[in-house]
């Protein structure tokens, strides 16, 4: 048997029977669909290297089938079979990605042409299939669900999600604002057996206490003034799925008690209600607070914390995953260029300097906003440093933050940090930076060029160097696990600073 599965989509039984026999005799594995809709179902469920599709078919015709194949990204090569009167449509089909077309009636000459076309189409399919597999592998290295990142820190996050998602354990996600906590929560949901159930996200800090309680537990008719109808809460509505409670440490203490009870008993009672309603819920919570402090201050109940934090996922701030900056910035650039219909080739060297050296206090969201703003405002084919620099840093003439160089750093590391931070503090003004550093403009440019080269970039932002950065970032607002093993946070929040 030859390698390759072929699907024949035609409503004429006589034609499909004949073609099936001819192609089976040639050694192919052949299946038949009697209309376009069935063909789509079969193509979605099973891999076919080639589909022979009649242009005129019931339900979904050949052209609509091609559109659907492209829309649903179903890989296959389509050969259209058409009557002479519809050659125009066949040409349209070619434009929509059909591999080729053959006119009816399929006499000996045309059947021979078809027999010659099929191996070529199958070969193209096989090559593209390999490309897709490679692309998928590459994508797997840099992406996970909606999360983007290839740094060691993010790979650890992905591994943890993979491990915890299939269980029913509650998950507590720790991370600064803008690090993508909700995306992690969605990934946990999507990878779990609850993926077909609802995902319900609630921000505990955004809602007043009464409304939050009502949103979580619902109410019975007449529970309070104006409650003319009963309303199920998030626990009921998300039953069978996942509730994501963002900023859980901001939840008022009495609601924390109710939440704890709901988690322990898997039962909820609506406001004004008497009956206990069973719920089947997985809780994923998140906070950007320093949990040690939140527990010490009594803002978060310890018993609730232990109930929520069966598994903790720590989402690193962007400054701890500098290796992801280029990947993220390029991805946002591509996305926003497309959305805004702009053809932007990339970032200038100065812009990269800024992006790689700024400490992005608002994390991924901050970077995303900066790139979107730069794309919208950019007038040229390249994003310049000034485009990605936040306005308040462009005009304030703010002095650079301090540079902390951990003991054990090399001279090269120290020099690198000093150069980058000084350059960033001048918003990419090379002449000013050189003056501040006391070196010539050429020296600065040479320094920057070496940092921007692939090796230089790796050396500057690779994992080995990041540990040094971590030490320096001890004064950041990063949330900390409340375990003794983790260092205390000074929790200082200051003006945006450069790395």
């Amino acid at each position: 048997m030859k390698h390759g599965k072929i699907l024949i989509a035609d409503d004429e039984a006589a034609i499909t029977a004949g073609l099936s026999a001819i192609l089976s005799d040639e050694g192919y594995e052949v299946d038949v669909a009697t209309d376009g809709e069935t063909a789509l179902e079969r193509l979605s469920a099973d891999g076919y290297g080639v589909i022979l599709a009649d242009l005129k078919m019931p339900k979904v015709d050949g052209l609509a089938l091609l559109k659907e194949l492209a829309g649903r990204e179903i890989p296959t090569e389509c050969i259209i079979i058409t009557g002479q009167a519809t050659v125009d449509s066949a040409v349209a089909a070619m434009r929509q990605g059909a591999y080729d077309y053959i006119e009816k009636p399929l006499n000996a000459e045309k059947l021979n042409r078809l027999k010659a076309l099929i191996p070529k189409a199958l070969e193209k399919f096989a090559v593209q299939q390999k490309n897709r597999e490679l692309a998928s592998k590459l994508e797997g290295l840099t992406h996970y669900g909606e999360l983007t990142g290839q740094s060691e820190a993010m790979r650890e996050v992905y591994k943890l999600i993979d491990a915890v998602a299939p269980s029913s354990a509650s998950v507590l996600i720790l991370g600064e604002s803008g690090t993508g906590k909700e995306l992690v929560a969605r990934a946990v949901h999507q990878k779990s057996e609850r993926a077909k159930g609802p995902f319900f996200a609630l921000n505990c800090a955004a809602l007043p206490k009464e409304i939050l309680e009502n949103e979580l537990f619902g109410h019975e008719k007449g529970a309070f003034t104006g409650s003319t109808n009963e309303k199920p809460g998030a626990f009921e509505m998300a039953s069978g799925g996942t509730i994501f409670l963002d900023e859980v440490a901001e939840m008022p203490p009495d609601i924390q008690v109710k939440l704890l009870r709901a988690l322990e008993t898997r039962m909820v009672r609506r406001l004004g209600g008497k009956r206990e309603i069973p719920v089947d819920i997985r809780i994923v919570a998140a906070t950007n607070r320093d949990l040690q402090k939140a527990l010490a201050d009594g803002d978060l109940r310890e018993d609730l914390y232990y109930r929520l934090a069966v598994v903790e996922i720590y989402l690193p701030p962007l400054r701890e995953r500098v290796g992801d900056l280029q990947l993220l910035a390029n991805e946002f650039l591509h996305r926003f260029s497309q959305q805004n219909g702009k053809k932007i080739q990339g970032f200038s060297d100065d812009a990269w300097e800024w992006i790689l050296s700024y400490h992005w206090p608002g994390n991924v969201r901050d970077l995303k906003n900066a790139v979107e703003r730069a794309v919208v405002l950019s007038r040229g084919p390249v994003i310049e440093a000034i485009d990605v620099t936040p306005r308040h840093l462009r005009t304030s003439g703010e002095t650079p933050g301090s540079v902390t160089i951990p003991v054990g750093s090399s001279m090269a590391d120290a020099r690198r940090q000093l150069v980058l931070r000084t350059f960033a503090s001048t918003a990419g003004d090379a002449a000013r930076a050189a003056k501040v550093l006391g070196i010539s403009g050429d020296e600065l440019r040479a320094e920057l060029a070496s940092l921007l080269s692939p090796n230089g970039t790796r050396a500057a932002h690779g994992d080995g160097h990041r540990r040094g950065d971590d030490a320096e970032d001890d004064d950041s607002a990063a949330p900390r696990r409340p375990h003794p093993a983790v260092g205390k946070s000074a929790g200082a929040k200051g003006k945006p600073k450069k790395r």
Partner: protein
């Protein structure tokens, strides 16, 4: 009026009627040509499918019998399928020839429907519509309406009923003995509002004495029955 004057008036009236008849005939001929093209256009896919089915299956037969020592049974089923497809092709070709032949006087509604049935059915398939035409014996449903107009109106009504927007259509012709004088009634129904008959066809039909009654789900055509 003198006798000579009366004869002259009769002659003029007869000439006027003849001119009217020729005008109707000419318009009907033009409309018939358009209807033929529409049937051919709509039925082309089905005709080609039949031909394609026949040719493809013959190719299987040829290839299998060409193998050394191949048993005849390996090709029998495909030969039968090819034969049945050629029968389909034959029916379509005959119907196409009937379209081009001059209409026989007096026209027989049943005979017209039967001769065009394969093509009308194929034309309906172009819009995914199942058409069923009630089978009956010709002979008792002759009409005094001009033969050309008769088949034009029948085909136009069926093309309208098998236009887009329905799943099935039915055509039924009957001789209404209770009507005075007796009439041939053709009811073309479908599972949805049929589009109205083309204005030009409706005008020619009315001038030729055919009554057209549209209803929400059908077009009813009433032809005067032929005498005797």
């Amino acid at each position: 009026m003198t006798e000579a004057g009366s004869r002259a008036a009769d002659t003029r009236a007869a000439e006027a009627r003849a001119i009217d008849a020729r005008a109707i005939e000419a318009r009907a001929a033009g409309l018939w040509l358009a209807a033929q093209q529409e049937i051919a256009r709509r039925s082309a896919h089905e005709v080609k499918n039949a031909l394609n089915g026949a040719v493809v299956n013959l190719e299987v037969v040829r290839a299998r019998l060409a193998r050394p020592g191949a048993p005849a049974e390996a090709a029998t089923g495909f030969a039968e399928t090819a034969a049945s497809q050629f029968e389909r092709v034959t029916a379509y070709v005959e119907a196409l020839i009937n379209l081009a032949r001059p209409a026989h006087e007096p026209a027989d509604v049943a005979a017209v429907l039967r001769s065009l049935h394969p093509l009308l059915e194929a034309a309906a398939t172009a819009h995914d519509i199942q058409l069923s035409v009630t089978t009956f014996e010709p002979g008792a449903r002759a009409t005094s309406t001009d033969a050309q107009v008769t088949r034009l109106v029948l085909v136009a009504a069926l093309l309208a009923a098998t236009g887009r927007g329905a799943h099935s259509a039915e055509c039924h012709a009957a001789l209404d003995e209770e009507a005075c004088p007796a009439v041939v009634v053709v009811r073309v129904a479908r599972d949805g509002m049929p589009p109205p008959l083309d204005d030009a066809v409706a005008a020619v039909a009315a001038e030729a004495g055919v009554r057209i009654a549209p209803a929400p789900d059908a077009i009813t055509l009433t032809f005067p029955a032929a005498a005797g």
